[in-house]
């Protein structure tokens, strides 16, 4: 992995995330129809497409600025709970990166840790509640341990898969109680896509 990540890398990350969300939108919506309100794919697609378009029009100068800008766009365009949640993740991560022109993967892991903590606080959720945190946590931990983007993507995907037997404790899926068991969480699934996009951005 390259030693430093510049603003260009972060713009590629967001573009790759938009492509991944677009590619997987139907799957996200299918998962969300099982235990949610069947809008996750469409919401994520609309949000990340807006992020990619906005970054195209106004490329931001630093890694932190790219993520703060992207987070703000997500909050204003998604329309579902994933907007403020992913928006907060990116914005808080971006703020933690500060105004450095280049950051290391270790610094990104640390900043993502702050972003994930902010998501947990906003949603009032913890690990094991069958939410995006169940993919974000393992992904960030793997990155922090030096597992690289590929290792982080693997850990996040495993984390998403591990939500299948969980009982949902947050969001609309929690109204289903026991019936939420046996389905993979759509938010954890889209969170794993963010880590896949990191791998693509670094390629």
């Amino acid at each position: 992995m390259s030693a430093v990540l510049d603003a260009g890398f972060f713009r590629r990350w967001m573009t790759a995330a938009a492509a991944a969300v677009d590619r997987e939108a139907d799957r996200l919506t299918d998962l969300d129809s099982a235990i949610g309100d069947a809008d996750h794919g469409a919401n994520m697609r609309r949000g990340f497409a807006a992020v990619a378009a906005a970054l195209e029009a106004e490329p931001q100068p630093t890694p932190g600025a790219v993520l703060v800008f992207a987070g703000r766009r997500l909050i204003s365009t998604v329309g579902g709970a994933s907007g403020p949640l992913y928006g907060t993740l990116l914005r808080r991560t971006g703020k933690a990166l500060g105004d450095a022109a280049e950051v290391t993967p270790e610094a990104l892991a640390e900043a993502l840790g702050a972003g994930v903590a902010a998501v947990a606080q906003l949603g009032g959720a913890t690990a094991g509640d069958k939410t995006m945190l169940d993919a974000l946590g393992p992904g960030v931990d793997a990155l922090g341990r030096g597992g690289g983007f590929a290792g982080a993507a693997r850990a996040a995907a495993e984390g998403a898969a591990a939500t299948v037997p969980m009982l949902a404790r947050k969001g609309r899926a929690s109204y289903l109680g026991e019936r939420s068991i046996g389905h993979q969480d759509p938010g954890a699934t889209s969170a794993a896509l963010l880590f896949e996009a990191l791998v693509e951005a670094a390629a």
Partner: protein, 142 residues
């Protein structure tokens, strides 16, 4: 200001109602105004529905509504559930998208909206409006 007759003839607290549904937000605003006796002096704004006009929450509608009703005495924001709660919290955490003095009020949506508008129309400040709206949780129906 019409008729409130209370002391503290300052500006009224604004009320924003955020629902997943545009119709619900608008109807609850109308209901609250009606039950508050018209509440002519109280700015109430509905911010319902998502960015595409369907069910959801639009951060831009929320921000616009909050600025529309801001008279300098604070803005009480009442929400229904899910993304409405999270969107307002995320906007407040950002710090510059909602007017200074905007506050998420923890209250039942319909009953809290009525209590908030009545209290604001009586000249209550933001703390009083928030307390009245929150108090609506304690009204049992059975």
């Amino acid at each position: 200001m019409t008729g409130a007759g209370t002391a503290g003839a300052g500006a009224p607290v604004g009320v924003v109602l955020v629902s997943h549904s545009a119709e619900v937000a608008a109807a609850v605003a109308e209901l609250a105004r009606g039950l508050a006796g018209g509440a002519a002096g109280v700015p109430v704004a509905a911010a319902g529905g998502g960015p595409d006009g369907g069910l959801g929450t639009s951060a831009e509608l929320v921000a616009r509504a909050a600025h529309d009703v801001d008279r300098g005495a604070g803005v009480a924001v009442l929400v229904d559930l899910g993304s409405a709660v999270l969107t307002v919290k995320a906007l407040l955490a950002e710090g510059d998208e909602l007017p200074e003095g905007a506050r998420l009020v923890d209250a039942p949506f319909v009953e809290g909206a009525v209590a908030a508008v009545v209290t604001a129309s009586a000249g209550g400040d933001l703390d009083a409006v928030e307390a009245a709206a929150a108090e609506a949780y304690r009204y049992r129906k059975a």
